[in-house]
Assembly symmetry: none
Homo-oligomer: 419 residues x 2
């Protein structure tokens, strides 16, 4: 049986602790390690302080087999990664002539002068495996210490990624005889809450070791991540496929796609499949619905356009909504939503039309509280559905939730052949 | 002399270790803590595993005064933050009836059912200070244990940010009597590149210790952050004000506002000030321009609406653009851009209109390469300006840059009284 290696990632740099940048290096490395079946158990971030960097290394040494360290290899005084490791291990840094030559070469190529502190970047541990830097000056290093492998790389994402891709990943696969593959798939659901979905698939979620099944929530949607470990990608995918069938047997009616499929992609694909064109009339959403579709490159096949009728005049002049209807019912009304959908379908000669009218906030409108939203869907001379919702959140949250709810309505009507 | 508090941030969630998301919560919190003069010494990330979460809490307790924990407060079985802290401290979780009532209220408001596992979110530590969640269901908690203050918050960024802003930051300022103030202001510029701006203000950037001056680039814009430390907010603001004058003396002609002022806010404010209404006709931008304005709550005062004319039929039927013009010039043309702006101004009875037509990509259109964009601005019976641009990037980058360029054009024309 193959050994399970525990990996850990340490980011060194005060800019991370000041919140000036996010630790995207740790995310990127984690994602790559998942692909080759290495499990990451911890991330740490520490500033440019010798004692604290050493403390993080010490903590990692005791619990992890492989420790990835990014940052702190630069030429300046507050780059302390090498020094902290030397202090922890008692290993002495030595000038490496080959590395120094490479640095000199880099500077002459870029018409810049080598400064005294660049010499610091040529200081390496005697037993280290050197990782060439094809982009910048600081070389990477792989050093083993008491059963733990430390892999030092620069914090500049481009340099780190080049080292990982060209050297570290192949090196690890070879050295650790990694044969295991971890694949995952994100199943996407709409129209069901996270707790409700989890309750329904409880038995599948709690029993699983491989593949694992985990529900995740995001604004107005839920996803279920299935992750499988196997010896080949094919095997892992087969395991995922099977587990997906089990999940969908229970909650398949809320499912719309996986991984990169968004709800707008799902709607667009159904429209293309059914050869139905779509138009929109938007009040509070103000172009956000149109944007969701136009952001997809196939949109022009079915999407006609949208009238953003932000003023009453536009509702009358462009959408031909009778003034009396607006006076009698108000613009935030079922009647107005219906008329908007019907009129934009006719004006744009679209098969289907959707309309949004409501109160984004922060203030009430026509006596209705922020978050009140009407959505209407029209097709072939009849209003299919008109619904009233109430969303809780700030102006732009209400607008986004309205668009998502509109996409959800379109998706289910199209999928169930009601459009 | 004031005590220096050591802060630490722990992110709990396997999705972070799998690289599915970056730990942007830690970045955001770090940034906010820097503003109130709290020093963050470590970040940790750990997966949904009881023993490992407990280990991280134990490590943090020994070295930090204040520990911020995000994630693991959800209703599902792999949400283990509460359990890990209970295991470390021996404190027992108790059902809090007030919290349970709030959760019930949340679900009935959203027409959803409370499930058994939602009850878990009402389990709190007896001595905890409860932090209300105005967005989701999981409350936050502040609990002290052996001199260390633990602050637990949900991992959903919107919920965590609401708690930090409304409760945690004021609470910490009060409890810790934080006296040193770090203030910063972000000056915003458009129409000048980062390198060009940095060269112009070089002397101001390099000499500074307090306040510091740092240029930052983002898509199509540049910002300059001025950060000052002082004993009072007034002092810090005075220092910033003075430094701002020095910067604007050199590059003031590219300046449009600071902090939360976006270029769309600046345009909206000028329109309101000049009592000018605005309409838009959008082809490739597909509602993105309208959305930029409608996302601001004052938009209804001046913004009439937008026609998203994604099909040729809509250009003819809604915008009344003659078929011959489209046949002769194509839709990606100066002539079409001009006609779109003129027609939408007339149809919507707006004082000013702006139009966007072009090729978002990935494919060429009418023989023109992706990234080709025409923008036209019309006012009071005459076309003020029509410009051709080429933006390099993918579909949505081209669309965003087009909107930003349109806003930039409007801003300078309005500011210089050319509109």
């Amino acid at each position: 049986m193959e050994k399970t290696y525990k990996a850990e990632i340490i980011g060194v740099g005060t800019e991370l602790l000041l919140g000036q940048i996010a630790n995207t290096n740790a995310q990127w490395i984690s994602d790559k390690l998942a692909d080759i079946g290495l499990s990451v158990y911890y991330h740490q971030v520490v500033g440019d302080n010798l004692a604290r960097v050493e403390r993080c290394f010490d903590e990692a040494k005791g619990r992890s087999d492989i420790v990835f360290v990014t940052g702190g290899l630069g030429p300046t005084e507050d780059d302390l990664t090498r020094e902290a490791f030397a202090s922890l291990t008692g290993e002495l840094l030595e000038l490496n002539e080959d590395v120094l030559t490479t640095i000199h070469h880099y500077f002459s190529k870029n018409n810049r002068q080598v400064t005294a502190n660049n010499r610091k970047q040529a200081m390496v541990f005697p037993d280290a495996t050197i990782i060439d830097n094809h982009i910048g000056t600081a070389p990477g290093m792989i050093v083993s210490y008491e059963q733990t492998m430390f892999i030092f790389m620069p914090g500049v994402p481009r340099e780190m990624k080049q080292m990982m891709t060209e050297f570290v990943i192949p090196y690890l696969k070879d050295q650790l005889s990694l044969e295991e593959v971890i694949s995952s798939r994100m199943l996407r659901f709409i129209g069901i809450g996270e707790a409700q979905l989890e309750t329904k698939i409880q038995s599948i979620v709690s029993d699983q070791v491989n593949p694992t099944v985990a529900p995740l929530a995001s604004d107005g949607e839920v996803a279920v991540r299935i992750t499988a470990k196997a010896n080949t990608a094919d095997q892992a995918n087969q395991m995922i496929e099977q587990k997906q069938q089990e999940v969908l047997a229970i909650v398949g009616s809320y499912y719309y796609g996986y991984d990169d499929v968004s709800i707008e992609t799902a709607v667009l694909n159904l429209l293309i499949e059914k050869k139905q064109t779509l138009a929109a009339a938007e009040s509070l959403t103000g172009g956000l619905f149109a944007d969701a579709l136009v952001s997809l490159s196939g949109a022009s096949q079915v999407f006609q356009g949208s009238v953003v009728s932000y003023s009453e005049h536009v509702k009358q002049a462009v959408l031909n909504i009778p003034r009396e209807l607006l006076v009698t019912n108000g613009t935030v009304s079922k009647a107005c939503a219906k008329a908007m959908a019907e009129q934009v379908a006719k004006t744009m000669r679209a098969d289907i039309a959707i309309s949004f009218t409501g109160v984004a906030g922060p203030n009430a409108l026509e006596g209705q509280p922020p978050g009140t939203v009407y959505i209407s869907i029209y097709q072939a001379n009849s209003v299919i559905i008109t619904e009233k919702y109430h969303f809780y959140g700030d102006r732009n949250y209400v607008r986004k939730r309205s668009v998502k709810k509109g996409l959800e309505l379109l998706y289910y009507l199209l999928k169930n052949n009601k459009l």
